[in-house]
């Protein structure tokens, strides 16, 4: 028998299935000697207006379950999926359910009183605490071994241009909402602007050198000295650029198609571009935490590409017995699920740089929503669908919790990174700590 080359080879040789692999790799005894601990990543994906419970939640509990219509696109990743029913947003206070739904979703804490008036309840302002993605980002950025260039990236798809409680999910702190970037060109500039700039600089260096040589010939000996110094600085810049190029991105800079407009019908194109950029940014280790926010709480996407002309929020108010509306809402959620599946597929197809396996082996995606169901505006049974093996949860299951506060799930996410918080958000909802039965 030959010596196994990688940890994956080694594990295969000793008879451990690929499914169990990422989980096992978290255990110190299975980690290769001297290897760095594996990277862990988190993506929170948000879609609005609740789901249709009957077409969303699996009927069964445990490892044997069937994906219903809304979740069908996840079939290829069923054994890497974990569906959590019965996790509820218990945070009360100012603001209507849509506002608290998104504002407390990742923060687990009340909104401040304010001047944003919803359809019911008292007006409210921003959330009064930071969100779990930012808590984890801060934890990772504190440690030089897990620090990345951005720490976290906030992606959006067609998020309305007004900043209010309904459009913000991530918070850097109390009253500090983070705007998602929903323009792929802007995100591209943030991720790759520097390397584009370096290329551009390199391209003008020859012209600059020529021009300096020309003016140097035109001036007297005494004035030539400053220009000679300048010329050697240009030479140094060239060396610096070459140096920087060597340590840059680590993968080919993607190209974006030109001329994509920010409008409703471009949502599918923008969604794909944003997911591609997100996967690239993880491959380049620009960040280990990301959010991907489709529209906003009360989102009104009109999914014309599915043959649906009504806005999503209007549809979500229709009663349960409106079969047409429920069918459309199911289709809409299945479309979001397709985006989730595309994200999972891209991650699974991308090799973990410098490690083994794929990015999906080391990433957990959490797909969630501000409401349990649109027409009742309930904050019970908030959808939480988890995909990927990033945090060592035991995947391939459908679980029911019977109404635990979602703060406990937020704590589980932190614990999955080794950040053992004893509370998160409002401590009254942190109960016995992280959710049981996840790992």
């Amino acid at each position: 028998m030959t010596t196994p080359k990688t940890r994956r080879d080694f594990l295969r040789d000793i008879g451990v299935s690929a499914t169990a692999l990422p989980f096992l790799l978290n255990l110190p005894c299975f980690a290769a000697p001297g290897a760095l601990p594996r990277k862990r990543r988190l993506i929170v994906m948000f879609s609005p207006d609740g789901v249709v419970p009957g077409t969303f939640w699996p009927d069964e509990e445990g490892t044997e379950f069937t994906l219903k219509e809304s979740l069908k696109p996840l079939t290829p990743f069923k054994d890497r999926t974990l569906i959590l029913r019965g996790v509820s947003d218990r945070v009360k206070g100012d603001g209507d359910n849509h506002m608290r739904g998104i504002g407390c979703l990742l923060t687990g804490i009340e909104l401040f009183p304010g001047n944003v008036q919803g359809g019911s309840d008292t007006p409210a302002g921003w959330a009064s605490g930071l969100s779990i993605d930012q808590e984890i980002k801060n934890y990772l950025q504190k440690n030089p071994k897990t620090r990345t260039r951005f720490g976290s990236l906030e992606f959006g798809v067609m998020v309305p241009e007004h900043a209010d409680t309904w459009t913000r999910m991530s918070y850097a702190g109390p009253n500090k909402p983070l705007p998602p970037i929903d323009d792929p060109y802007q995100m591209f500039g943030k991720l790759y602007g520097q390397s584009k700039d370096r290329e551009m600089l390199k391209s003008v260096l020859d012209d600059l050198r020529e021009d300096l040589a020309r003016v140097r010939r035109n001036v007297g000996a005494e004035d030539r000295r400053i220009l000679e110094e300048h010329t050697s600085l240009v030479r140094e810049m060239e060396q610096d650029l070459r140096e920087a190029g060597r340590t840059a991105v680590g993968h080919a800079v993607p190209t974006l198609p030109a001329g994509i407009k920010r409008d409703n019908d471009a949502i599918p194109v923008i969604s794909k571009l944003q997911i591609d950029l997100l996967v690239n940014s993880f491959a380049a280790d620009f960040a280990r935490v990301a959010t991907l926010q489709y529209t906003n709480s009360v989102g009104q996407a009109r999914m014309t590409w599915l043959g649906i002309t009504e806005g999503q929020h209007d549809l979500s108010h229709k009663p349960d017995n409106d079969a047409d509306a429920q069918t459309k809402l199911t289709k809409i959620n299945a479309w979001y699920c397709e985006q989730l599946a595309y994200l999972a597929r891209r991650l699974s197809e991308t090799r973990e740089p410098g490690g083994t396996g794929s990015l999906l082996d080391n990433t957990l995606i959490v797909w969630t929503n501000e409401l349990g169901q649109g027409n009742s505006h309930t904050l019970e049974n908030i959808p939480f669908v988890l995909v990927g093996n990033g945090l060592g949860f035991k995947m391939g299951r459908s679980l029911r919790y019977g109404g635990v506060p979602h703060n406990r799930l937020l704590m589980s996410l932190a614990h999955g990174f080794g950040h053992r918080v004893s509370r998160f958000g409002n401590p009254n909802y942190c109960g016995d700590g992280p959710l049981p039965n996840l790992t």
């Binding site: 909104l111 401040f112 009183p113 304010g114 001047n115 944003v116 008036q117 919803g118 359809g119 007006p123 409210a124 302002g125 921003w126 009064s128 900043a163 209010d164 409680t165 309904w166 109390p174 009253n175 500039g189 602007g193 700039d197 551009m200 600089l201 391209s203 003008v204 012209d207 600059l208 020529e210 021009d211 300096l212 003016v215 010939r217 035109n218 001036v219 007297g220 000996a221 005494e222 004035d223 400053i226 220009l227 110094e229 300048h230 600085l233 240009v234 140094e236 810049m237 030109a258």
Partner: protein, 787 residues
Amino acid sequence: MTSTSPLRFLRTFLTGASLIVALAATAGMGSGRDVSAGERVYRQQCASCHGDRGQGGPGYAAPLTGTRTVSELAKYIATSMPPGPKHCPPAEAKKVAAFIHERFYSPVAQERNRPATIALSRLTVKQFRNAVADLVGAFHPAVPNDPRRGLRGEYFRNRDFDVKERVLEREDPEVRFDFGTDGPVPGQFAPHHFSIAWSGSVLAPDTGEYEFIVRSEHAVRLYVNGDAPPLIDAWVKSGNDNEYRGSLFLLGGRAYPIRLEFSKSTIGVDDSEQKKGKPAPKASISLSWKRPRLTEEVIPQRCLIPTPNAPTFVVTSPFPPDDRSMGYERGDSVSKAWDEATTAAALETANYVTARLPEITGVPPDAPDRRARLKTFCRDFMTRAFRRPLSPEKERNVLDRAFTSADPAIAVKRVVLFTLKSPGFLYREIDGAPNDPYNIASRLSFGLWDTLPDPELLRAAAAGELTDRARLRQQAERMAADPRGWNKVREFLLAWLKVDTVPDMVKNKSLYPDFDPRVASDLRASLELTLENVVRSESSDYRELMMSRSLYLNGRLAKLYGGDVPADAPFQKVEFPASVRSGVLTHPYLLAHLAYTDASSPIHRGVLVVRNLLGRVLQPPPVAVAPLAPSLHPNMTTRERVTLQTRPTACVSCHNLINPLGFTLERFDAIGRLRKLENGKTIDATGSYQDRQGKKVRFADASDLARYLSESEEAKGAFAEKMFLNLVKQPVLAYGPNTLPGLKRAFGESRYNIRRLTVDIMTIAALPPGAPTRSTTPSPTRKVTTR
């Protein structure tokens, strides 16, 4: 006198530059005696062969220059000079060596003896930033042509600034309102539901980081220098926050668009019907700022204009500071840090332009002739940046080549990047013959505005008008009258008074309980008002600056410095008797700056008069001396203490000049307030000055000194020369020996009109009289020699 040698005296007098101070300081006191003894020996024994300045002579042609140390030279002389059997005794050789080394042998001495020349310079940081702002902004006015001050306020009865619901429009001098629980005008507004938009421009006096502060219990949004994103966005009111801050970097002397929005309504779902008849909460709002290094204040009316200016692109990339060793910023050296800063700034600009291509170029993204029009934009951009028509080589090599790119936006980015890194942009007057019309235009605009020539000046250059001195003068007059012209003069005046960087002013709390940072900020504003009102007036009279008996005081300052001004009054002009205030030198801001925390400082005050106002050269003190603490000599006055401390021989040569000038200001305490007694003793404010001709003048007090400074040819000449250095950034001697005397004469003929002086200086500097025309072929030197 600070120097005994006639040669040194002459040089010192002519250039008046602090460079001499720095270099001479290396000689030290001990070798000073050797130098003068060595000079006698040299004249007797060496000069006949080597020339009187070591330049070589009949016996020995090569100049005496080199890099040996004094002791190496001394050894060489003692063992070989003069040639023949008997050499110089070692003790004398040492003195001769010291003399030679100090006066012409060492590299430092050679540098000092170099004739004054116009050196090739790069743009200073200030010039770079201004030039980029005007390049991108295509030269919109720095300040809107609107004499009104304040903001335009529009008051609405709804929550989204719908013009149909606008019930009130007026000019508000500042934004500081408390509406209580009612509307802005009782009866006209629903107390739950109104909104206000203030708009116009805000004038930034200095370059630096500005912090804007808005306070309100309700929704507010503040835009400064552009529409998106807002500098402060508190449209969502959340929690107890009612104070919002945002900072941005602004270039001094320019006005930036500003818009403040306020809404008392909720946002989201409209609830105005439900609230009718219910008690309304309170509403108030204020708009304040913190200017760079000053304290917070409500933005004063004089810095607000009700017309919005176009936004300005401000390069925010940090730069290493320019060399200020000569008392003004100059760009005579390059460094890696500077090069990297220009690269970062060029990228910042290129990215800004490409991100706003339609707005900046005026070419819509779907224009059929987009490529051609963007190329035209680039040609204009390069022409403005290089301040001359584009050469065929650049047209071909840069412009045409860039536009072979598939994406014309990439071509624009490339051109902008290349242009801002090019020597033709970064260096002053580097292309063309020295006196070609475009170089004349460039000197004029950098001299008067610290930026590129504007379209009108380029037009005049193209039309060949600028070689006509009368028309050149007309252009200079036009530019000096523009707010940019005033801004440059203002910066000079602050540097001349040594307050160009805002000094820290902390005073002893128990002695001066009312002197706090707000007073210090107010005093600076008061000085600025004095300078502006004197120098921007029609007569713009230097003598008025030196003699004026008025102070600008607000309520807070009047409480400390006298004057019948209500406690909450804004700045107003207050007249005092000459015995109280005489000219800018007695402005409390300068007096408080030139003082310790608990005592006045006649030395600091005297040094300002000697160096800056009289233009005399002072060497640094031979030894570092800590001032004597007043507590060590509790029975002495400051005057007595300073006299005691500067009694040693090493001190007197300079302090004989400094102290009697500083003492005349002794009636002003550490915060510049008038006092009659110190430690129970009457103040002795008499003083004196011996001018360069050796004539001694006596002063009874500060008003005598002020009169002397306003009449003295020496002071007026020093003012003209310092102004020249600050505007032109080259030594005045490089423009011929007659330039400074001519400027002084013209200054007198104009009744000491400061604005006229700037015009006179720039008409000469832009087109130097009798300057040799530089040929375009390489020449051994590029200088205007004055030997």
